[in-house]
Structures are given as structure tokens and as C-alpha cells.
Subunit: 765 residues, 2 copies
Amino acid sequence: MVTTLTRTIIGKSATKYDAFAKVTGEAQYIQDLTQPRMLWGKILRSSLPHARILNIDTSRAEKLLGVKAVLTAKDLSGRPIGFGNDNEILKGTKVRCVGDEIAAVAAVDEATALEAISLIKVEYEPLPGVFDPILALSDSSVLVHEGKGTNLSMDYHFETNIAALDAAMEQAAVILKDRFTLPFVTSASMGTHGCMAMFRNGELTMWTPTQVPFLYQHELMMALGIPGKRIRVIQPAIGGGFGAKLDMYPYEASCAHLSMVTGQPVKIVFTREEEFQASRPRQPMLIDLVTAADGEGHLLARTAKVICDNGAYNSWGATTPFVGMQTISSLYRVPNIRYDAQIVYTNNPYSSAMRGYGNPQHTFAVESHMDMLATKLGMDPLTVRLINANQSGDITPQNMKITSCAFSETLSEAGKNLGSLPSEAGKLRGKGLAGMIHVGGGARVYRSDGCGAVVKIDDMGRVVLLTGATDIGQGSDTVLSQIVAEVLGVDLKDVRVINNDSDLTYWDVGSHASRTTFVAGNAAKLAAEEVRTQIVNAAAEILKVGPDQLILKDNRVVVTNDPELFIELTKLIRAMHFRQDGKLLVGMAFYDPPTEMQDNKFMGNVSAAYSFGAHGVEVEVDTGTGVVKVLQVDAAHDVGKAINPLGIQGQIEGGCVMGLGYALSEEMKVREGRVINANFLDYRLLTCVDAPEIRGKIVESDEQQGPFGAKGVGEACCIPTAAAVANAIYAATGVRIKELPITPAKVLQGLNDLRKTTDNSEIEN
Amino acid sequence: MVTTLTRTIIGKSATKYDAFAKVTGEAQYIQDLTQPRMLWGKILRSSLPHARILNIDTSRAEKLLGVKAVLTAKDLSGRPIGFGNDNEILKGTKVRCVGDEIAAVAAVDEATALEAISLIKVEYEPLPGVFDPILALSDSSVLVHEGKGTNLSMDYHFETNIAALDAAMEQAAVILKDRFTLPFVTSASMGTHGCMAMFRNGELTMWTPTQVPFLYQHELMMALGIPGKRIRVIQPAIGGGFGAKLDMYPYEASCAHLSMVTGQPVKIVFTREEEFQASRPRQPMLIDLVTAADGEGHLLARTAKVICDNGAYNSWGATTPFVGMQTISSLYRVPNIRYDAQIVYTNNPYSSAMRGYGNPQHTFAVESHMDMLATKLGMDPLTVRLINANQSGDITPQNMKITSCAFSETLSEAGKNLGSLPSEAGKLRGKGLAGMIHVGGGARVYRSDGCGAVVKIDDMGRVVLLTGATDIGQGSDTVLSQIVAEVLGVDLKDVRVINNDSDLTYWDVGSHASRTTFVAGNAAKLAAEEVRTQIVNAAAEILKVGPDQLILKDNRVVVTNDPELFIELTKLIRAMHFRQDGKLLVGMAFYDPPTEMQDNKFMGNVSAAYSFGAHGVEVEVDTGTGVVKVLQVDAAHDVGKAINPLGIQGQIEGGCVMGLGYALSEEMKVREGRVINANFLDYRLLTCVDAPEIRGKIVESDEQQGPFGAKGVGEACCIPTAAAVANAIYAATGVRIKELPITPAKVLQGLNDLRKTTDNSEIEN
């Protein structure tokens, strides 16, 4: 395929496509949407973490003036939802977590709906709850799902040759064994969940900020028991997703039912408190990691036993070990691997996908160990990583094929000046490093990992890209329009992206796995190239040159070696249209990356490319208070090719701040299944005033299969940060903390313990 | 192209696609639309028909609280609009008709905008006006456009060999010479005009119920002087168009300017009074028709001199003689033709396209003459038509090529029991006949008469047709979805039509010239067939048969001679998608009919097919009051093939009622340029209680180039009605009325005149 020789748009920083609408407030979120005769829906949620429902009395609610419908489990048909279909839309016999949906109400306004909810009387028989996954496994007296006979929901097991693994452990000069503990955190999207359902004339239209409109259509079909072809999914502006908008939620099916029952549009929007309690957090994990290495620091073997607190039901989050095990097996060259993960039902909130999808947890463990290994061997933390780093051409134990790879460069970039640093009195400074690997060329978790795209140009030169790919804030609309503009040689602002309506767009498996730039980018590029071919062929006829002598730039088709010879693009388009046997300019493409589903042994090259990166974090620890101040982050990422450098800087900054929050301050505190800090005062999200200087460093490795060489980077930016912070604290203080978040109390405790140990050893010496 | 052998949807009556939304009130018209921060716009209109503007004082309006912008001519850039660009968006120096736009205001609400308008002081110097086109031509002391030096805006001239024409006139046994007079009528759409403009970030989005979104985009570009590629046109539900929504109106460009100036969305909606005064009526015409025939009734020659009252500016309406002359030259076989039409500026409201586009006027003249010829020769009115009727294979004097033609059948169907009929005392009954011809396979009035269409099917079997074609109420969405459903063998309700947003859809020259079923239908069919080919090829592989052995029906691909062997369509679609090198199902087509632009002598086959029809109307005349009661209409139409018989019945009923109103009651009364009956009490639109029994008779002639044999019929249904009414009144009473509307006063006058003539002749005898 011919492409323009000099790139005028790719690689140049572009303002975000949606910036104007977002900063002026013109973007329409689910909160802004309305429809004539729209009703407000509200969900009555369980106040108990585990209880039998003896009776639900909705009679008073039904009598309230303005209430149009009250639904409970007995009113619904359809199928339970969630991964494994363990989650009823409305719970009729038992609640398994605080926030479980018991009844749904539609009323003429929000206040009436709230009032109606308060009038519903639920008679519970409280049951003992289980809130600790280890207890849940060992003690089967409390079963979250009785029918299953166990609280173990799923397990994952991967291993290389066990004899070889055992032998490697035998030979190892160093063996590290540690437990790493990761808390509940939540994405805290600025836009809370919400949806609006309109059922009329046998057709359901759902407005919902889903990240996966086509999977959503399918899920809704199954949940409601109506044909999928009667469902249209429209996405309003999405106020952040981060994975939590990957699942269809029970309230969404209830909202559809309310509209079906009332014949009116119904909208349900979460309050912030609901968002904390009933949206999906990142999984808490316990990771028992064993790392074995030889005397020079070469990794010989690694095993991990992971316990995930799944909460009461399975969402997509129950599958995150799929990604986490890749970090165990493939972040560094390790020939021998054993990985076990157990997904355990508890009566806690149930977790979901969240940026990184299990990877931040596993990377925290692995990269803490890499530093500990360096310490043990007296090596510097950079060297121990470099000698184990993956290289282009590697095939990892899970059969992942590393194509482009600038991991070593990112480690070297981020890993300058590691270790303890000079500081003022009462403070200790240090810099730590951590690397990461993540899928960067799609991730085949569904039978299609593809994306469809159509590019059209009208007679005026207005270019429209219709794509299935969803921009959840990551900036993909900008990147996709850059790709199309580059191929067609038009101004970036000539390209409009439309991607919010399943009736208009073409299949895409969704915005997750950092796949949009790679997969949707390739689709958009192919569609634009199809248009370009038609343009070039028509222009060649008119200009009487070969098609290969033409380039598209500045809205013209120009003869390469005679720039004075050209035709205006719109003039050409009209000439193609306004003639006998005229044609319109449109191109269609479907791109599905050349990858494979992993087999039941978790072997297979799930992604067409892998992204690498490393963060170097410099911290200052106040030895009196234990407060950790992050002074600086060096974040180097191998992105293949930066299509929009400004966008990547944004991703890096956002990812680092999210990673720093994970490291230092964020924790959704759950006590007996209840979130006790469900607000932004008590849940300590970092804000712009907390952000340190973040020096993003883009490293380009030119991924051959990526659009213009690009690969995914969206999740990557938040993955290694927490580990780098822990390593920096160690570098500064000698305190090794293996449990997030690293609160001042933990640091102080560590400093005290260290002082004791030092004192003891001084005594012993 | 393979098509399904038995038709399951084509030819079966289907409920209108938009019926549910329309009857439930869920359809969103321009009146229903709003945007955050939307302002209301109002136009200050001239109260005088002709005056110089000496001064416009907007200072008080500008000071009014809530007023955001006041614009006058001096504030605008861009170009005058209209056919020939004679119409400034805001008039700064002179007004030429009542309702001319002088100032535009945007304010926070409608009341404030109205108040602001009332505060603008315009100082006029009244000028004498000219309101009669004959006077306007003969007396150049009053010039509507001084710069032009004449009130003649345009003229049209067509002739065959003049010597032959003269010779034919010489030889003729009968020569009829009559003047026919046609009044102002208006389409009186239930949805008044209105638009909403939103200019932001250099992009203009216009919501407007235009019939021609792509021409509109171009016109707006020229009017505003901004690039067309920065303009998006979105059509809300259209509350009737009938041609009046073919032109972009000056207020629409003002609305865009108001949004550009204020940075806020602005909406302007016409009141009903504005709709009467400032929307576009059908042209009043004076038609001097000469018909020459031999003794057996064969037509030898026909000449027409037509004067059209154009009003103050040229709209598309100034080109209606283009169609009218086709009626003169081609409704019946007439070898010798001369046609002259003059489009004359006056200070009256300016007229536009309206259903039939000049044809109802010309058909009234021609079909009155056909009856008068029969009377003169003592022939019956049906026979005189049949012997002159066009037949398939004819080429008319303008080089129009008649393909399918069931004109004679329609005449015979509608022309049963013509003449005087028995009636009770004091009443006279009779039945009259009139035929018609109209373009039925597009009309090449622009360089492209084409339409683009995309058909896609998703994994659930939801089919979407994206088409440029606009449904203005005629039911084309239903017909297009039937075509797609038929080709793909799916349920009609599986097909969704999207056609209201220029960003999504593909070029279509617009809804006019009864072209949508034919042109957009062919485009939709081709696009669906492209999809069908992909389906059949994939199914053939799986079912191991040849593609030609497969048919699509009941959402299955079935082996023709083994109906038990089939594959579910959606299963096949998913099999095509979810595999290596998978694909999505989408087809694209652009159809531009094989026609030609007429040359400057008006020669050329403008349409790929022609539609014929005939109405037989039975009336009862009250001889005491002159009141004409229509008892029955027999309306026979050659539609090629009825795709949706119910839809055609609807068109026939609506067309007949419109034609009956034109015949009997409708007249927009204009006095010195002012509409004096600008309301539905005084403007006598027929309603359902006035409607007689209308017996639609569909005649099928199987148009080879039409989709499934169909050709256009939208305008046809209103064209011959008025002539048939006049002929029926003649049949009943012997009174020949050549001026519409045929009011009771005119009938009484005719009866009195007739009585006098009879008395005189009795005396003379």
C-alpha cells in the first residue's frame, strides 16, 4: 500500500479532538441527556452484606403519587448477568453484598423515585458474611453462592516443565519469597455510572457510557431475553471508564425493564456514594511470589500464588489473572514458571477491570522482587533488570512473541541516578525503578479482536470516519483522525469521528487492553487507504501520470517530482462524482489482528505487539512523619511510534498520578462489605496539586504491524509506578514495604523496625 | 444480479416506517429541538411590498435585557441566495415584498426576541409596487430589481420545426384557443419552517427540515462564505415539504450568522402567519393554450404562452416551466409544439417548487382542452385521449424516451361512466377525466441525480440502511426498507433507515421530482445486493452448493431445491466475522440514473422513466348555490410496480385531496403583495371531512430500470385532479371554468351565463 512519504500529521502533537466540547461544557454526558416523558429510575440496594430476603413489600411505594413502576425479581424474565451468569438483575431470595439490587422504581422525578425507594420494606434474615478470601477458602460454613458448594469461583494455572522448575530452584544462588498485598482501589471516574433506556415499538435504545458497545448489545440481549437486533446502543460522552464500564451492570437491565413496563424513557444515574459502593473496584490481591536467580542475577525461575478477592459476583474482573500471569511469565526472561491464581467469592464489593487489568498488582510484586534481588546480590537495580530484559525476537514461556521491543532503552532512560540521594536533615531521598510489559497490539479475549471502519469524503472535502472504537477519554478519536488525515493528506480538522451509535458503527470488541490505537488505528488506516487508492487512480488519469507518482498533501493530489502539477482534492472528488458512472468516495475496512486465543494451558500469542516501559521515581521521605513526597517521575515508554506525542504525554501524566495514588494514598476501605470512605474527602485521590514533575520520555521502536509503527500505551502508564515508588522508598530509607498503599504509618513503622534491627545488629555486632 | 425469486415483502402493504413515532408524538420536529444555552431568533420583516430603506435604528432593541445579537445587512458577509442570487439575506437598501427580511435578533427567549423586533425602527420611502405580471412586463416604470432594467427574470422557449407547426395549424379541423388562470396556493405544511444553528469551534451544525440536505450544505456555504466542509446538516422529522423546503431561506442564513456572532445555538421557527406570508407558494400562471387537431381528434399542434408571477425573487420555483413544458410537449402525442414561458418579477410573495412543479397548472390547461376538443368533435372524452395517448417506445418532441407506459390503461380505468349522470332535482351530476405525465425515474436538473447508500448487517442481524434520501412524509423510508428486506430475505422490521445527518449519509440530490423510490430505491437495492452476494458466497462454501442455488428468506440462506438445507443468517454472519481474516457485512452503492441534462434547446431525456395516470372525478353541483360536491374520485396510476400498495394509496388520497383543494377551495389571496387570508379559517384547505371516496387503482407496467419495476408516483397523484374536476363540472352542467379555484360564485356565474346563452339561442332559434 502506497503511503505519503513525508508525514505531516503523524508524530505532531494535536489538541484532543473532544477538547472544545469538554472545556466548554458542551459535551453531553449521560447526566445531561433527557427525553420527552422521561422517568427517573432508582435502585433499592441491600444494606446488608449477606442476608436472606424473606419478604419485599412494595405496596406503599406503588401507591405513591408519581410512581410509574416498581419492579422486583418476580417481575423479571431473562438471564442473570456477569461472567458466568451468577448475578441476578434483581435479587429475590438472597443478597450477597452491600449494594445488591433488590427493587427498581421509575417515577416522574428523582425525588419521587427516591421517596418510593424509601417506602419499600425488605424483611431480611441476616447471614454471617465472609470478607476475607483466605477465610472464604478455608471455611465453607459461609457460602456466598450455596449452589456452588465452594467459595472458589475460578482458578488459573500455568506452568512450564515442573521438573525443570524444581531443578532451577535447586541451582539458584538466590531465592526470594515474599507476600505482596494489594488493596481495593476504585477508578473514581468523574462521570458516575448512568444509563437511559427507551423501549418503544419493540425496539430498545440504550444510552450508556459503555466501553464495549457491541458486547453490551449482546449482554443486554441475554439479560432481557429480547433479540439483539432490537437493541441499539448509543454512547454519550464518557466521563472516564478505566475498565469499570466494561461490564453491563444489573441496574442497566433494570432500567430497560422499567422502560419496557412503563412505555416511557427511564434514566438512572449513580450518586457518588453509589459509585463508590456499586461500581467496580480494582481487585485486592495477595501475591506470594518466589523468585530464583543465579549469582550474576539471571532469573532462573519464578512462581506466584495469587488470591483475588472477587467479591460477591464475577465480572470481567474475575479474568484479570489472565493478564497478571503474563507479567509473571514474560516481563523478564524467566525460563521456568509456575502460576496459580484463585478467584474467591466473598461478601465484599465485586471487582472488575481497571486500567492495567491485574498488571499493576503483579508488577508491584515482580518489580519489588527485582530490586530486592539486586540488593541481595549487591548489584545495581538497573543492571539486574537489563540483563534479564526481553528483547525483540524473544518468545516467552506463554508463547508470546515479542516483536518491537525497546524495553532496555526505557529502563536506561528511567533508571538514571538510582539509589540513595543527598537530602536535607530529617529527610531521606532516593530513586527507584520499575519496568512493565503489557499487550500493545490488541488482546484476543473474544473471538473477534477486530474493528470495522468506514471513511467517506463528501464533495466539500469533509471527511468522516465511522469506527466502532470508543474514546473513553484516552484520546483515540484524535489519533484515529490523525491517521485518516495523514493518509488522505488533508487538514486534521477536516476529519470528523463518529463512533457512538451501534446503528452507525461497525463491530469493535471495545475500549480495553490498550488496543484502540493499534486495532482501530489499523482499521481506520486501511479504510482511508482504500479511499486514497481511488483518489490516486482517478487523479492519475487526469494528470496523466502513474498512480505511484502521486502524493496526497495539503488537500491536493500532487505529482511527486513536479509539485507544480496537482489537482485540488475537492475538485477531483467532484469530477469523480459529477460524471457518467460517477462514484462517491468511501472506503471500508475490517482489521482483526493476527493473534491467537490462548489454549486451556494459557499458551498463545494473544497480542500482535507488546508495549514496554519503565518508571523511575524520586521520593523524599520525612523521617519524623513518614510522609512520602514524590519529587519527580521519569516515565519512559516504548510506544512503537508516537502518533500524537501530546496525547501520550497526557496518558503518561494521568497514568503516573493514578500509579502514585495506588502507591501512596488510595484505598477503598471496606469493613464487613461496606465502603466506609465513599467520598472524595476520605478516599484520597491525588489531584493536580499533588502531582510531581512528570518527565515523559517517548521511545519509538517502530512496530511493523502497528499503524505508522504505533502500539498501545493507554494502560502501560499506570502499571510500574507503585513498584517504583516502593523501590524509591527503599532506596531512600532501606525500608521495604510490600503492602499498598504505603501510608506514612507504614513508613514510620518500617523506619522504627529498621532502627530496631540496626540497633539489634549493632548490639549483636 | 441474482434476486430472490418469490417476493415476500415487495408488493405487500407495509405500515409506514415512521408511523409509530408520528402517532405517539415521539417524532422530534424542529419545534421540539433544543440545545443547552439555545437562543431564540426572530426576523424583522418588511411590512411594505416595495420601499427604499432609509434607516434602520436597532439601538433600542440592542439595549433590551436578554437580547444577545441584532443583525442588519451591514453586519453580514457572504453572497445573496436564491436561483440567480438575487436575494440578500438581510435587506439593507430596499424591500421588494411584504415579509422581506430586514433584521435578525437573538435573545434568551421567544418573547424577548419578539419584543426586540418590535423595538427596531425602520424608516422607509414607500415605492409604487407592481403586483400584476402582465403590467410588470408592459410597464417598466416600476422595476422590482432596478439593476436588471426589466421585470422579466427568465424566459423559456421550446419549439419544434416552426414551418411544420404553421402547416399543421393550417390543416387543423379544430383549433382551440383559451386562457387558463391559476391562483396562488400554498402547501400549508403542518410543520412550519424553522431551523436551529450551532456554530462552535469553526464548525456549523444546522438542524433544518430541508428536502435537499446536500444542496443545502452547498447553498449555505455560498451564503455564509465559510467552507462547505465545516457545515453539517441534520434533518429533524419533517412536517411536510411539498417543495417549499427545497430552497434555503434567507432566515436560515441569518440564524447561522446569529449563532456565529453569539457563540450560542440559535433557533428560529415560523409562526403560521409567517408560514403563509414568507414560505413559498405555488406559482400563479396565465396559460394561453392553443390546441389543433384533425377531424378524428388526432392532435396536430399545440402552443402555449405562459406568464408566471415569480414574485420578488427567484427561487427554484422560477424553473418550473422546465416541467410544465414537458406536459405541453409530451403528455399526449403532439408532433408540433411551441412553448414560451416568462418568469416575471412582481412585488408579490415569491413562489417555489410545490408538488408537481408547474405540472398541475399546465395539466389543468391541457386536460381542459382535451375535453373541449372532444366536445367540439362530438367524441367522448376517453376516446379522444386514448387515440392520442403515449405508448411505450414513444420518443416525445423533447426527446423524452417513454419506456414503461400504461397511460391508456389508467385512462380507461379512471374514465368509466364519463359525462352527465342522473341526479336529484336542483342538482346536476357529472364525471370528468384528466390524465397526466410526470418524471418517474429521476430528473436530471443537477450534475448528479444520484443517491449513495450503504447497507450493513451486524452480528445480531440488525440491518441498517444509510441513505442520502430524505423522507418528507412520502413514505420513502418504508419503501427503501422493504427493498433492503426483500433483497436480504429478512423481516421488514429488521431494517432501520438512517438518513438525517450529512455526516453519516451519502450524496443525494434531494427529495423532489418523485425520484426517491426510483433513484434511492435503486441505490439501496444495489447496496443490499452487494451484501447479498457476500452472504451467498459465504453460505455456498458452508453448504457446499453453488451460489446460484441459494435464496435468502425468513432470515435464512436456503438451498432452493432442498428447503431443509439452510443456514441461519445471523449464524452465517457470525461465522464470517469470527474467524481468521474475518469480515463484516457491508455494501455500498451509488446509483445515478442513465439520463441526460437537457441542452439549451430543452432537448434531452431527463428521466429514466415516466409516470402516467388519470383521475376520473364525479361531482354534484347544486344549481341553486353553485356549490360543487365531489362524490368520488377514481385515481388510476401507472407506478411501474407497487412496492408498498398502502403507501401508494396514501399518496393517491393525499394527492387527490390536494388536487381537489386546488380545484375548488384553496387560494392564497394576495392584495398589494400582502396575504390577506394567512390562517386556516380563511385559507380553505380541505380536511378529512371534506374528502370524498377516493378509489385508488394501481396499474403496474414493470419499469425495467426501476427497483423491482417501480417508478415514481409522489407528485403524480395531485396533478390531474383539478382538470378532472373542471371537466366533471362541465359534464354535469355544461359550464366550462378555466380559472381556479372553481368557487360557487364562478359556478353560479357560469350557470347564469349558460342560461342567458341558451335563452338567447332559444330566442334566436
